[in-house]
Symmetry: D2
Subunit: 345 residues, 4 copies
Amino acid sequence: MIIILKSGATDAQIDHVIERVESLGLRAHLSRGTHRTIIGVIGDESQFEPAQFQVLPGVTEVIRVLPAYKLASNEAHPEPSVVDVAGVKVGGGNLAMIAGPCAIEGAKRLDTIAADVRAAGANILRGGAFKPRTSPYAYQGMGEEGLKILRDVGQKHGMPVVTEVMDPRRVEMVERYADMIQIGARNMQNFVLLTEVGSTKKPVLLKRGMSATIVDLLMSAEYILSQGNPNVVLCERGVKGFDSIARNLFDVAAVPACKALSHLPIIVDPSHATGRPDLIGPCALAGVAAGADGVHIEVHNCPEEAMSDGPQALLPAAYEELAGQIRQLAALLGKSISSPPASKR
Amino acid sequence: MIIILKSGATDAQIDHVIERVESLGLRAHLSRGTHRTIIGVIGDESQFEPAQFQVLPGVTEVIRVLPAYKLASNEAHPEPSVVDVAGVKVGGGNLAMIAGPCAIEGAKRLDTIAADVRAAGANILRGGAFKPRTSPYAYQGMGEEGLKILRDVGQKHGMPVVTEVMDPRRVEMVERYADMIQIGARNMQNFVLLTEVGSTKKPVLLKRGMSATIVDLLMSAEYILSQGNPNVVLCERGVKGFDSIARNLFDVAAVPACKALSHLPIIVDPSHATGRPDLIGPCALAGVAAGADGVHIEVHNCPEEAMSDGPQALLPAAYEELAGQIRQLAALLGKSISSPPASKR
Amino acid sequence: MIIILKSGATDAQIDHVIERVESLGLRAHLSRGTHRTIIGVIGDESQFEPAQFQVLPGVTEVIRVLPAYKLASNEAHPEPSVVDVAGVKVGGGNLAMIAGPCAIEGAKRLDTIAADVRAAGANILRGGAFKPRTSPYAYQGMGEEGLKILRDVGQKHGMPVVTEVMDPRRVEMVERYADMIQIGARNMQNFVLLTEVGSTKKPVLLKRGMSATIVDLLMSAEYILSQGNPNVVLCERGVKGFDSIARNLFDVAAVPACKALSHLPIIVDPSHATGRPDLIGPCALAGVAAGADGVHIEVHNCPEEAMSDGPQALLPAAYEELAGQIRQLAALLGKSISSPPASKR
Amino acid sequence: MIIILKSGATDAQIDHVIERVESLGLRAHLSRGTHRTIIGVIGDESQFEPAQFQVLPGVTEVIRVLPAYKLASNEAHPEPSVVDVAGVKVGGGNLAMIAGPCAIEGAKRLDTIAADVRAAGANILRGGAFKPRTSPYAYQGMGEEGLKILRDVGQKHGMPVVTEVMDPRRVEMVERYADMIQIGARNMQNFVLLTEVGSTKKPVLLKRGMSATIVDLLMSAEYILSQGNPNVVLCERGVKGFDSIARNLFDVAAVPACKALSHLPIIVDPSHATGRPDLIGPCALAGVAAGADGVHIEVHNCPEEAMSDGPQALLPAAYEELAGQIRQLAALLGKSISSPPASKR
């Protein structure tokens, strides 16, 4: 860390800062400038927070030089990680093609959609059994019955399945049915839930919160990693913006920005990022072009009957067309797309 | 709801929209303009979402006319609500003066701080036993031991106590010790947790999420209210902004904006909103001047030893001075400040 | 427009709104719902603003149904526009490859960079003679001397040139030297300047303001178009975001979102959007994949000696590699890249 | 400045950075940590930009320690400045009460409004003759005729007048008629215009841009100050936010945040910050409570006939009530409100 002192900091204040640094087992390196004095903190600063020095009298600013995340950083793990989702590889040149309806609404509908997205090239099936809804009066999902349907349909079509968990008391149940556990954007800083999924061995799809910085996202990944679960896939799904023209603001630069800091795979979710079917395709391609390790898209065969988020779903035919374009782009970029195993688990 | 059709919408599309509206037990009122056709939806639209109509072919936009929250709205409850926190009134002209350290760090320190803030005029004591920390390596709080300390210190000084809960499995425990349960900004859309605290009867301090709109905040309050708990106090604590000069962007207009829509009390938290001691006082006064029903401020007697968020805490003497200014302003505005009951519960 | 009345609006208020609508030569279409009354405004609403009805007693909201821009809309002009920049086509399947240094720093340096970017595949040369600098003490550009250098170097290498104008009094001068006039992000709502460049016939490169919505951008284009200059190329260059990890937040969805509303070409500027050389390439490719009609990139052969914005410039070799990738992607997408005319003008 | 090197920076890279620093006449102070090497730059860094060092190989981050503005900083000028607007003092404990219509629409209407706001306690009259309108088809103002009306009405009522200038070619004209020149939010970084008003001696009301940081605002003030005009009054008028519930997001913390850095007076404009009459009063009081040196409010006696921004204007009676509340609050805070001179100039 670097501690910058105020222009009028007294010698007593400077001494007090140095004492404080040294009392924590760190070394202080003093540098007096014409206008400002700075103190470099030397040693393992990972146990400390800038706030601890910020409060000292005479200090104007404290700057962290090393990242606060360690396991997620690519200093610790220089090679890109490849996460194995029941046989489907994600990361390190392997593209995840995750598709399916927002909510699981019944076995027959899910079966039809799964057949469609599998035929179009998807390699992981998604579907929500527990839905985070802004309104307490809105459809909340089928619960465990939905999880069973998801597992059975996934097995029938030979696709690993991913579904969201919202309640730490349900992690064990979701783990039994799913091949990958999703943490939604609203729960990205639900540290209780992160800790809970970190204690499973299931791959985790960690969605970026609506106002989370890249570093915040990596810190949340660190929660999961630090519990012993190394299988984290990040997901950019749009941040809060000022323009109501789209549901969120798709931050495509998050893809290379994450890769500059972390070895974890990162995929994009243009469905939630835009909320508009006509923007999903262009943003999916943009994400892959920017280096994303996968694309998460909601697909529904009858959006007007969807129980949740119908307007942001693609029809199966539109998904098929887009998946073809993604495959062409992936080929140009030298990326592979794992076929799902014929029968999983 | 108002359904706006695209400029080239066909008669078949218009008919289909009308059929769909009527199939849901609502009435449709057609209005053809020179350039656009609009359909007004007449009936109890609270069960439906704009998304359900947005997906229909030919539709360009669907606008909700009535709010999606009902219990939180001041159409349902025109008088301002007064929430009773173990004898301390909040709302309807009564100001909450909530103060205390970020985290409970031990009985002796909390006792000293409580004595100071009580003497300065605080009427509710705060302190965190479970801390939501961005880093898994940071101090996470004292847990149940901290809750006991908080309860005992509160009782000694005759102050009701408020503390945060993060885990739905801990709501029962926190309820046993606290007079008011805090939902932090990061959990504002943790619907599982909202539902859980809604099933208690304890007053809930609901902090606004960092990228939550006013309507999002009221929808989260609706979760709690709809479970049967009417005792919700909202809290503006800053939203995500683009300027790093302060920790967050204090949205003081949220105070009158909430009051224009809802009967629920709303307080301000300038400590988290700014993260800078020199901005806390001006923003606290701004909040009260704008009509806030209380002020939540972190106070610590030795910020440089604080386990969490030291830099945003006021020293007891600074709090005392500010509390005096708030009292003068409250008197000018005709607001009361409940004395805490001599011995609570 | 649609006028929504408050729930308790009186008959007198409703009548007054209708009178007001009719007094402006429009027709009012009344629709009374269970909870809300709405009035549809029928006629040419382009002369009026929602604000004029918003102030009327009893009105709660006024919604514009038709866009306020007309010449920029694709209702008026369904085919994509192709803008001709001294022989280089932009839009309608033709990609602009704009490259060059941030600032013109001298004839020799510009000549070298121009040779490099021309060889790498750029078809329009950029360079600033008047620089908008946040600090009054920073380098402000070479002025007219720079314009001469830019024109001469462009002619030598057979490349049309684009440069920024900031002062309405200099539009005539810039017009004499440049093939395309740039309006910078900070001047996107400098209506005086927009009007001035609208009265030339030179193509205009209109950069999106840092907090401008897509509709704001199209309204600014409308200023230029309404003066009689149809040659406007839009440019997404990042909006203000909350994460300091990049200079701005690159809004790639702006590309398809603009195309859904307007016939005007839109290009991307990943240099300003990110400010980080390692993010420029991925974001350039993302923009093209999303449908952009061109890419604007700053290139400098010695960034550490650059007078302005060195860190966001690519080295010529990096630009060459990226330009090759863009060409491959363009070929996949069926886009053309105009060769610049051997000798322009 | 502090230059932070990458973890793997080579000795050759470090030497090159030091050479570069010294070649600019500065001294370099090297500090090698366990994980990072940092170089402190000692000397007058005001002539240099972090970007110049950011581009050097091996550098990861460059941090400015001293502000880039000098004349605007309170290090240069520790006492708060008091700006004299034709006899009305602003700053240093003196409150500006600026009121009037958005646009000057005619002599009679302005006369009536001026009489009303003068009687209510306003001490500076505002009115726009050149209006920055998002739409080229909207009312653009009365021009010079409006300026004459403004001057005459101001003189009749003994009030100094403030009006906006948008065109550098009109600065001289506006200077002839007005006592204070306004730079609107959209022109806060119109450096040509800033330079032009800096060369007058008239007080300048500089509005904060919609996505300008506090430092950006102070840098724009520096443009004016550096031309020799010391009479700058800053104005917080809301920044771009994500919630459409109000027109902008009123950043009340900008008031104390500016005062922590600069000696310049800062006032608030709750009319533009909120765009909602019901929020103007609470936000005006919030601004004064936070330490603002004045309040700028739009007042119109017939908002439904206003040519511009009617919905955000207060009626004269509402302004009168609010002005009374502001006076009470000012008295509590020990602030003065200058009476306008009986006859100005």
